[in-house]
């Protein structure tokens, strides 16, 4: 069953006098419980697609539906609430808040819920335990390595138990060892917790860890391959 349904999506940007067409009728399904790598050269529309899936951007026309909800038709306030509940987002440069500890960073999405302090505390500890950082609760981002920061960012993305986890070049700033740790963690989240994961990457090794790979070229889906 498709968790994500993208139907005839057009997306264009106006840059000065020039109109840039990113997608011209993109149609795509992403199954629930899948682990999909999104590859393609710069400017192919990978990040734009991720933004559309997260409801951070709207298509010029067409429909983006996630878990039955038509994301492309939601108003900003609805989108924010929907995102808080259904999407976990991980950035290339981690984007942890430097003034908050690992614990506080992971707790951020839960501040938008009605959970009690005790419930929030339990969830934060579990999320940091899943990424193997339950001994770094009180560390600030500057006290963590790049790999650890990214794992905290992943804990932040999963703490609210979202429907969909989106990652934009999650290993782009990590060394080989940290990259492997993060990718192993993503595989585990997919396999053990049945999380639907979409990861944008340039790294072929990273893409190999996914169950399927989508190739985008100038906004067109040119290949959908299952990883053996």
């Amino acid at each position: 069953m498709a968790l994500v349904e993208i139907r005839d999506v057009h997306k264009s940007f106006q840059r000065d006098a020039q109109r840039i067409e990113v997608f011209t009728g993109l149609t795509l399904d992403i199954e629930a419980g899948s682990f999909t790598a999104l590859m393609g050269p710069s400017g192919s529309g990978k990040s734009t697609l991720l933004n559309l899936l997260a409801g951070l951007d709207k298509p010029t026309s067409g429909v983006v539906r996630v878990g039955g909800a038509e994301v492309s038709a939601m108003r900003p306030a609805q989108l924010a609430a929907w995102r808080a509940r259904h999407v976990g987002f991980v950035f290339q440069s981690f984007n942890l808040l430097p003034v908050l500890t690992a614990y506080q960073n992971v707790e951020l999405p839960l501040l938008l819920t009605n959970l009690s302090k005790k419930e929030r505390d339990e969830r934060v500890r579990i999320a940091l335990g899943v990424v193997g950082l339950d001994d770094r609760l009180d560390h600030y981002p500057r006290q963590l390595s790049g790999g650890q920061e990214q794992r905290v960012a992943i804990a932040r993305a999963i703490v609210a138990d979202p429907t969909l986890i989106l990652l934009d070049e999650p290993t782009g700033q990590l060394d080989a060892k940290s990259s492997q740790e993060v990718l192993t963690l993503l595989q585990r989240l997919n396999a053990e917790f049945n999380k639907t994961i979409v990861v944008v990457t340039h790294d072929a090794h990273a893409a190999q860890r996914a169950k399927s790979v989508l190739h985008l070229e100038k906004g067109d889906l040119i290949e959908k391959a299952a990883v053996s």
Binding site: L56, A77, R83, A84, F89, N95, Q104, L108, L112
Partner: protein, 380 residues
């Protein structure tokens, strides 16, 4: 409340800048409270005055004396129950730089006319029976460490020479406008020392009924109209108000300076808030990605502005209230009863609230309206 750690963490990002901004707000509201209290104290002074007391001064100006011989003629005016007189002395104490209000009065009639000046009966008797004695406000006792029976020497400025008085009584005013740092001595001694000049600075006339004030004042002024020292008589409140009027432009100036200071600090605070918000454009985008709504982000930035403005206000207004009370400040005797009024504190809190809104609203709106995709592109 659950967002408070986030708000405090953001404020702690640049501790020095936050502390300086809070200090600016605190200083602004301290000045605001101080300047406003000058205005309210002057206004209260202008409202002081017994309903049955008239004051007669020389029509040419208060610095010109009236003949002491007027006293008996004033007593004879229908409706007049009692007459007293006083003379500004203007002496200085110690090294000549310590100043407090001091004047000579016809002691018995003066104290009878001013029930607001309260002292123990035995001290009152001691003062009345010793022509070289002085009656002092309780503040002078603590300020200079004086005690009953002590000799105190003032250096005359208008009336030269060393003037020594024995402290025989200490009063406590029931109305703060009277002031508790005044030295009062006997007009008889004053008259004697300056060579039986027979002058009075002003007369205080007690009348039978407040409704008769205008008629009696007119009768007095008519009586002396063609003399060498014509009088100008009015109620004591008008007399006090005439002093306040002299301060009138000062009050306006104080108010204007107060507003200017607050406005300047508003700009400083708004600038600090905007700098802080601009530096965090990327973080705001990240929070939006996590699911923070525009409204939540608006509220968070406003809360930051609120913490800065209200903490500064609490420090500034609180220290003004406590400091002036603890030091018994009275502006060298010119601002008796100087105390930051609850209304001023409320007004200050209102100013802080306005400061919070004015300084926070622009960065808050910017944060709420931030286009997240463009901001993320900037971050990434």
């Amino acid at each position: 409340m659950k967002f408070l750690p986030l708000v405090l963490a953001n404020l702690g990002r640049h501790k020095r800048r936050t502390l300086l901004t809070i200090a600016s707000v605190a200083l602004a509201l301290f000045l605001f409270a101080s300047l406003r209290t000058v205005v309210t104290t002057l206004a209260a002074t202008a409202q002081f005055g017994g309903a049955r007391r008239l004051v007669a001064t020389n029509a040419t100006g208060i610095v010109f004396p009236l003949p002491l011989a007027y006293a008996n003629r004033l007593k004879a005016v229908p409706g007049v129950e009692a007459v007293s007189w006083a003379n500004w002395f203007g002496g200085r104490y110690g090294d000549g730089k310590r100043f407090f209000a001091n004047f000579a009065v016809d002691a018995e009639s003066y104290l009878a006319m001013y029930p607001e000046i309260v002292m123990p009966p035995d001290q009152r008797e001691a003062f009345l029976h010793d022509k070289s004695s002085a009656l002092i406000g309780k503040r002078l006792l603590t300020q200079f460490g004086w005690h009953l029976g002590q000799n105190v020497t003032l250096q005359g400025t208008i009336f030269p020479g060393d003037w020594t008085f024995t402290v025989r009584a200490v009063y406590t005013p029931t109305d703060p406008v009277i002031g508790d740092d005044v030295l009062i001595f006997h007009h008889a001694l004053f008259d004697e020392r300056i060579g039986r000049a027979g002058i009075a600075g002003w007369y205080i006339v007690q009348i039978d009924h407040p409704d008769h004030a205008a008629g009696i004042a007119k009768a007095i002024d008519d009586m002396f109209r063609n003399s060498s020292a014509p009088t100008k008589t009015g109620t004591e409140r008008e007399f006090q108000a005439s002093f306040a009027t002299m301060w009138g432009n000062v009050s306006l100036l104080m108010g204007t300076i107060g507003l200017a200071v607050v406005f300047a600090i508003l700009l400083v605070t708004a600038n600090a808030m905007m700098m802080s918000a601009r530096e965090r454009t990327g973080e705001v985008a990240v929070l939006k990605t996590i699911g923070f709504s525009d409204r939540t982000l608006f509220t968070l930035v406003m809360l930051e502005a609120g913490v800065v403005a209200l903490t500064g206000a609490a420090i500034g207004l609180g220290s003004a209230k406590l400091l002036y009370r603890a030091t018994n400040f009275n502006g060298l005797g010119f601002l008796p009863g100087f105390d930051v009024a609850p209304a001023t504190l409320l007004l200050g809190a209102g100013v802080a609230l306005a400061l919070m809104i004015a300084s926070g609203v622009v960065p808050a709106v910017r944060a709420a309206r931030l286009p997240v995709v463009q901001a993320l592109r900037h971050v990434e």
